[in-house]
Every structure is written in structure tokens, then in C-alpha cells.
């Protein structure tokens, strides 16, 4: 079975590593990729890491991106524009809480649109 992929973007490599571990305790099958910190592993974001994570998490059901703060968002949007793939969306929801909900919903076979709707219901604002 194919699942909607999840990409976690944070200014910190530790944050996304930890979130992925929390998720993996519950969900093993859904592709979850991380893009944390700069290319040198410092606090910041790296569009190259985001692009690579999108490519790895990608399935025919699409990919949802979750980010932490301001500039991660711009880098994520740019990465989506640069990517040649379809069905990649940036989600306006809390990084950890949103990604957790989305991964569980992906694991029960929901489509990318269903997950997006559900996230908006759970988290009306980021």
C-alpha cells in the first residue's frame, strides 16, 4: 500500500529527529523524512535538505510538508516550486502536533486531500 509522505522541516536537526522517533513508535510504514538545520548541521534551514527530503518521501499519493518558524516556510515554498513533482503541499499547522496527526491519518490510508481537511479541522491556525 502507498501512503501520503510526510516531510518535517525544522531549524534544528534534533527537533525533527525526535519528532520522527515519536512518530515511528506508532507508525512504521508511512514515509517520514526530515530536513533539520543548515547544511553544516547548525540551527537554520537548508533548501537542499528540504528538496532531498521531498524526493525521498515522495509517493504517488503526494507529500505534506510541516515546518517550524518563519524562514523555514519560505524555503519550503521555494523547494516546492523548484520540484518537478505534483501534489506537494506545505501545511499551516504546528510542526510536531500537526505531523503526528497527519502521519497517523496517512497510515490509515487517507488521501492527501482528506488529511489536509482533517489538519485544518484540528488546527485552524498554525
Amino acid at each position: 500500500m502507498e501512503y501520503v509522505g510526510i516531510v518535517l522541516i525544522s531549524h534544528s536537526p534534533d527537533v525533527v529527529k525526535g519528532i520522527k522517533e515519536i512518530i515511528r513508535q506508532v507508525i512504521k510504514d508511512v514515509p517520514v523524512e526530515v530536513a533539520g538545520g543548515t547544511d553544516d548541521g547548525e540551527i537554520g534551514t537548508s533548501i537542499d535538505k528540504i528538496s532531498a527530503a521531498i524526493d525521498t518521501a515522495y509517493t504517488d499519493k503526494g507529500v505534506l510538508l510541516f515546518y517550524d518558524l518563519g524562514s523555514a516556510k519560505m524555503n519550503a515554498e521555494l523547494a516546492i516550486e523548484i520540484s518537478e513533482k505534483e501534489n506537494i503541499f506545505l501545511i499551516e499547522a504546528p510542526l510536531l502536533e500537526g505531523a503526528y496527526v497527519a502521519t497517523v491519518e496517512s497510515s490509515i490510508g487517507k488521501s492527501i486531500t482528506e488529511i489536509q481537511k482533517s489538519i485544518i479541522k484540528h488546527f485552524p491556525t498554525k
Binding site: 540551527i43 534551514t45 537548508s46 537542499d48 524562514s71 519560505m74 524555503n75 521555494l78
Partner: protein, 205 residues
């Protein structure tokens, strides 16, 4: 007077010189109302830009601008990376296939860059950002008919200084609300150096 690959390259090299020289200053400004990495981001990114454009021979201004844009996007990081990256990408599109750019085309390219950054950052002027330098500069260019390097630099400097009394409503500084007042915006300062570099290159022509 026209803007060619030679000027474009000199512009990039000159920007890099300013970023290396003023790395500490940009970092200090970003420490006051942000996360303190703007100097590091800009110095790292433009060092890579110079490395990139020094490796190759370019036929068109569009091509060199595109390499600069892609390097900025991938190496600057933070908010400045996607913003300045978008600006240079827009310029590369405006200058596509051009070997020499006249005043009008140049001005249009800079306006495209400004609009691109506005879209990218979902911001407008008065929010204490990069845009508060770019918009006055583009307006100044649109009002003129030929390059006036000194007045261009003055316009950018004045605009940069005016960000000091603004309250940030975008980017990291926005979290500080009223407390962001009293500090020049780091992005406005780096934009000033970008236009100072431009003036210096145009001066030499």
C-alpha cells in the same frame, strides 16, 4: 551606459566584499531583533556565489544572474536566502539572453525582483524588512532616466536608516513587537550594501 556580464560579475564580487567586511555588523543587528545569523548567512552565501561565478565564463547577464540566484537559494539560508534568491532569479528572467542591459530594462528587472520578494515573503513596505530598501530604490530608478550612482546609494542609505524607527511585523523581529523599534533591520542593512555595491560598479563605468 549599459549593464553587461562584466558589470554583473563585478556587482556580485563587490557585494561579497561588503558582506565579508560587514559580517559582524549584520550579525550584531540581527542579534538585537533576530537570531543573529544574518551576517553569517550573507557572508557564507556570497562567498559561494563568487566561487561559482569565478569558475565559469558567461555569455548573458541572465546566465550569471541565474547561477547567483541558485547559489544564494542553496547557500544563504534563513529568510534572506529565499528572498534574495527570488530577487536574483527574477532578474535572471528579466535579463534572459541579454548581453547588455539598458536603463529601462535594468529598472524593470529590479522591479520584478521587488515584486518577487513581496510575493515570497507575503510582506509589504513598512514592515521593517528588505523591502523597505528595495522599494524606494526601485521608485528612484523608475523616476530617473539614466544611472546616477551616488543618488542611488544615498536613496538606499536613507531608506535603510528609516527602518530603525519601524516596528517589525514580519520575520523573526516581529516576535519582539514594539521592542523591535530602535534597531536598524539587518536585512535592510544588507540590502543597502547590495545597492552600494551596485553604485560602486556603475560609478566605474
Amino acid at each position: 551606459m549599459h549593464f553587461t556580464v562584466k558589470q554583473a560579475k563585478e556587482w556580485l564580487l563587490q557585494i561579497n566584499d561588503h558582506m565579508q567586511e560587514h559580517k559582524q555588523e549584520l550579525t550584531r543587528l540581527d542579534q538585537a531583533i533576530g537570531d543573529g545569523d544574518h551576517g553569517i548567512n550573507m557572508a557564507r552565501g556570497f562567498k559561494e556565489v563568487v566561487k561559482k561565478v569565478n569558475e565559469k565564463e558567461y555569455k548573458t547577464v541572465g546566465d550569471i544572474m541565474q547561477d547567483a540566484a541558485m547559489t544564494i537559494i542553496s547557500k544563504v539560508g534563513g529568510a534572506a536566502g529565499p528572498l534574495y534568491g527570488t530577487a536574483f532569479l527574477r532578474m535572471s528572467l528579466a535579463f534572459k539572453d541579454k548581453v547588455s542591459i539598458d536603463y529601462k530594462t535594468f529598472t524593470r528587472g529590479l522591479d520584478d525582483a521587488l515584486q518577487g520578494m513581496k510575493q515570497r515573503g507575503k510582506a509589504t513596505t513598512g514592515e521593517k524588512t528588505i523591502l523597505d530598501v528595495w522599494e524606494p530604490v526601485v521608485l528612484f530608478l523608475e523616476e530617473g532616466e539614466s544611472f546616477q550612482p551616488q543618488a542611488l546609494a544615498d536613496t538606499a542609505k536613507h531608506a535603510m536608516e528609516k527602518t530603525k524607527n519601524m516596528i517589525a511585523t514580519k520575520g523573526r523581529a516581529a516576535y519582539f513587537k514594539e521592542k523591535s523599534k530602535g534597531h536598524i533591520d539587518p536585512g535592510a542593512m544588507s540590502s543597502y550594501y547590495i545597492f552600494l555595491a551596485m553604485a560602486e560598479v556603475l560609478e566605474e563605468v
